[in-house]
Symmetry: D2
Subunit: 352 residues, 4 copies
């Protein structure tokens, strides 16, 4: 159950950080949708590393090739869409496969699979997410005519929290930080960490608008549950809140319940999800992201032979994950929504 996601909009990703290529195959798309490599490329370019000093210096063109699923006119034909992105700039010499990196998946992977640490983290690398962004772009194209939009931006970097949210600013900011006034404080937080060979935690907010009321399924298939699964499948996410969820846990029902008007809830403390279903208001989720585990400060660890050692992780790493993680969070939200969009209609309409 590892590498497949979705029930109606089904995807399977593949590829390692330092292998020949990464990619995804998408099954379940309806026929007739216009799709081009350029459209997908836009989302890949948003995720691409190497845009600023705040990101890894690894340089990858991340050009996507569509291998299947289109007619001569560039429309989907109902068959699987396979997307391929070749790796280029993989410097395996930077990695030491002899020691485990604390805070990283190396050690549990070794226990599970009997594998030594793989160059660049193998499949556990953040690079794996390029395939998610590619399929997210396809989901975006599918949902866009409905008016469904997903945007994610950084709302906290270390101890600096955004106050006045401005997603448009985030789109051009190197940290995707959503508060123009506090951005310089956020930069300083990252620069301090960098200068100390350290990394810093962050928070990403995802905002999904245009989702009609009534998406989701009761009980196990709650949209809340499926978004929860989607977001916690992203490596560094360690906590997740929908709407005002954290605050609600210490409040009263009378403070928390959103009154109902003719078109649904009037206020949105519930974050667009009620009883596990969408309410038509914006779905708001906050992803709490740990600091990058790979740091160049000395840490206590062990070798693959079980000897105590210390490790200084070299290689190229983002000092803060939110800016790179935001497009991945958008993508996971979009593929989850696409899955529910394709869910069979639940009103019986043919009968007597």
């Amino acid at each position: 159950m590892s590498n497949i996601f979705g029930h109606n909009f089904r995807l399977m990703t593949f590829g390692e950080s330092h292998g020949p290529a990464l990619g995804v195959v998408i099954d379940g798309l309806p026929a007739g949708l216009y799709l081009s490599a350029q459209d997908i490329q836009k989302d890949l370019d948003r995720r691409r590393p190497g845009r600023s000093i705040y990101a890894t210096s690894r340089q990858e063109p991340d050009k996507v090739e569509i291998l299947s699923g289109l007619t001569a006119e560039g429309r989907t034909n109902g068959a699987p869409i396979a997307l391929l992105i070749r790796n280029h700039d993989a410097r395996s010499r930077d990695y030491d496969s002899h020691k485990f990196r604390p805070g990283h998946g190396d050690w549990p992977y070794f226990i599970k699979y009997g594998l030594r640490p793989q160059p660049g983290g193998g499949r556990a690398s953040g690079r794996e997410t390029v395939a998610r962004v590619a399929v997210g772009a396809v989901a975006r194209i599918l949902l866009s005519p409905l008016g469904v939009k997903a945007e994610a931006y950084t709302v906290a970097v270390g101890r600096v929290k955004a106050e006045k949210l401005d997603p448009d600013f985030a789109e051009i900011d190197p940290l995707r930080f959503a508060d123009r006034n506090l951005a310089s404080l956020a930069y300083r937080e990252v620069e301090t960490a960098l200068s100390e060979g350290d990394s810093v935690g962050s928070v990403v907010e995802v905002r999904l608008t245009g989702v009609p009321a009534g998406w989701g399924e009761p009980v196990f298939g709650k949209l809340t549950a499926k978004l929860g699964e989607a977001f916690f499948s992203i490596g560094a996410v360690r906590a997740l809140e929908f709407g005002d969820g954290l605050a609600m846990a210490s409040q009263k029902g009378s403070e928390v319940n959103d009154p109902l008007g003719v078109d649904g809830p009037i206020t949105n403390r519930h974050g667009g999800l009620m009883g596990g279903l969408s309410t038509g208001l914006p779905i708001v989720a906050r992803l709490f992201v740990r600091p990058t585990p790979s740091i160049s400060r000395e840490q206590i660890s062990i070798t693959v032979d079980g000897q105590a050692t210390t490790i200084v992780v070299s290689g190229r790493h983002d000092p803060v994950l939110a800016p790179r993680l935001a497009p991945v969070a958008e993508a996971m939200a979009l593929v989850t929504l696409a899955d529910f969009y394709l869910e069979p209609n639940r009103h019986y309409t043919v009968g007597p």
Copy 2:
């Protein structure tokens, strides 16, 4: 994808709050496991309402019947186990199917299915979770010989947060509150809410011990992701944290990384999950639970005909959800773990 959960340990629940019965069918259990209705009953009794003034006064015996899947000696035979719990004390007259209850699934269900509010909330009632607890008990019996244990307890009620955790005390406390010294403050929080016709939020902590390192699957099948799905499938859960996840988002990598020793991580800020896989240390999750939406204070709402109205929700409701939700959280954790326990071994062992 609504009512089925799990890939290897598969379950399907059914039943409404005021219907004839609730139950679950479990597929994928190995043959040869001793299983009895008494063992399952223990967990059901822990969940049962009516234990104290802090819970709904609805009285249900919640007696479980095993309908299939056992040999004459009481061992599993590899076939599905069907568990049945009949409803008894369902007072439909308490419910007003003409108005939507704010904060509740009624309204999005109406949009999705075209259904008027169902008596007792139908399938969206907390009563649905009795089937989850029943199958959780089966998962507990499956995992128990491995040494896997799950316990959940209340760590916050309203503004009162437990400080010195004592799960044994929680087991006998009417609120399952885990701090003996602060319990009386927690009671007062609930009593105040009750006296005001209100409800109050809470936090449940789940602690899973004895899980071997290496459970979980990379990428989409992370144990983190599947637990995230499991916990967010519980109605009132609005935020979720693994380990020290919330704090990590404002900290540095050097503060957060747990050093690695010969047997795995030495400290447990990561909460037992690294790279999406278990590390052998206790898995710790915190579920932030909204206040019960059904309150007897007047709220703004609409009728099923789309007219503005006010509503005072009568019926019997828990003023705080943590005490009833804790056994459900245990159950969902256990069925998730059972699913990974039955995952095929990932070391190839036959080949050259």
Copy 3:
């Protein structure tokens, strides 16, 4: 993957021949469909044993109870429908759990599960199919307003093959034999077998009408493949033919291809399935059914302790399986069709 069937219309069956009950839970039904126990009962009564000398003398009322999934008005509410059928007349004393029955699943079950032969065959009994017929009835009710019909009848008993098919006669014939003129020959075939303590093979034809063109999915999800899976999941089916499939294997393309007219194929040698998809013409399948393995003639076998022995199978058994299997074949066809009926629409309709 044992006891769940279907992707959109999902069902999970449970129960043993001599256990307390059999049943099925159905997930994925749209809301708003009228459903009653009486409607389901009709199909169960068609399958019921004890109608004639040609069937087992076991007497079961097979009364179905709907446990969940209905509104007060008797319409589906979008939640799972659970159906329960209690066992009554189970004479375990007739069975010898010490010896394996040749031709029966006892022995491979022992190898797989380590189980001694279960009373009445346990889950491997033909009695398991009562749950299939129950869910088939629900699928029939779902599909009926579309004009989809399923009928199955006996077209061969031993060496007697029906020539002039008359499904209406089959409905009243004790062998469901579809040829009025040759029915007495078919009876004699069974009576001869009975008098010798033997059983006899048979062929069931399934005819599905009213299925619109274009149902099915290319490649692995062909309607042909899913019907193949469905029919071969019925115990005694050992060969299967669609349309004129057997004859086609020795013929030429020019003889076999059905010419295309404006509304689709003009003739129906293809049996309603082309490229794996329905063509709008009747889907015709023939199921070749082995003789009942349980016979009262002495056979060579072994004991559970691995000693050579002989066995004379007592207990109550149908001498020919077609009459009882036909309703099961209808049911499996109907649930397969229901699954495709609920498949998301494959034309993209929202886009530019």
Copy 4:
């Protein structure tokens, strides 16, 4: 549910006849298995067209590239294996997208997807099966150390039926015909059809040896059912028989039951499958294959605009499908077996 196959050994294929590439992604493989492109190439070469006058003259090198899932030492790392085969010799000009070809999937695809006939049949082309053969090779490598073998060969071409089976001869015969003495009659059958611009039907036998007893799951997950699904997912298969299934339908139980010895059934009329589970004896299946629908004789058809017309199908087509279909049948059998090999152990072993 179209393009994914398998529960534990999961695969997703993609690609069109005249698109850029075909391929498959495989999920669920254990780590540590040696795998090389050369090993997979062997199976692809067996399937490759252009070996003789009895096959299409399309020339494709069918070179496979492994894009992911291997360690530096060439062993699986537990992550998905992606296999890519580029298309080269695609002559779209041979195809007329204006007319539907009788007996082919074009017309129902048009109804389902609103697509005009795709060049080369698109995803409905036999070329799609190259990805199946590639993943079948991986399954073969996984199962080979267990002693599991799959071989498929032609046992009938038109009216010529093999009598003395010789699979070794089949391996070198251009028709894969399994009877050395009758091969020349089979050739003549094909040559006659060719000279008439016609095609001819055929029968493929699949023989699976070394499968341990006890594989398969009762009820819906019978190995019989899953093989049925697998074989009927191959385009031209119109009937299927296990063991002596066709003959059994007119015989008696006493003739048909295989006596049980200490190591399982002594004879193999049951074709290696009993109660849906493997018995340890060879699994024998016969696939009845229709003649190639694309023939160069004039046929009655319609245009995409719904006008009556006639069509003479040009392009390059195999006059008989068995020789090309046999490796595909092997592949589908192998991936089905791999799925059951990875099924969790069904004996409970940890408990008291």
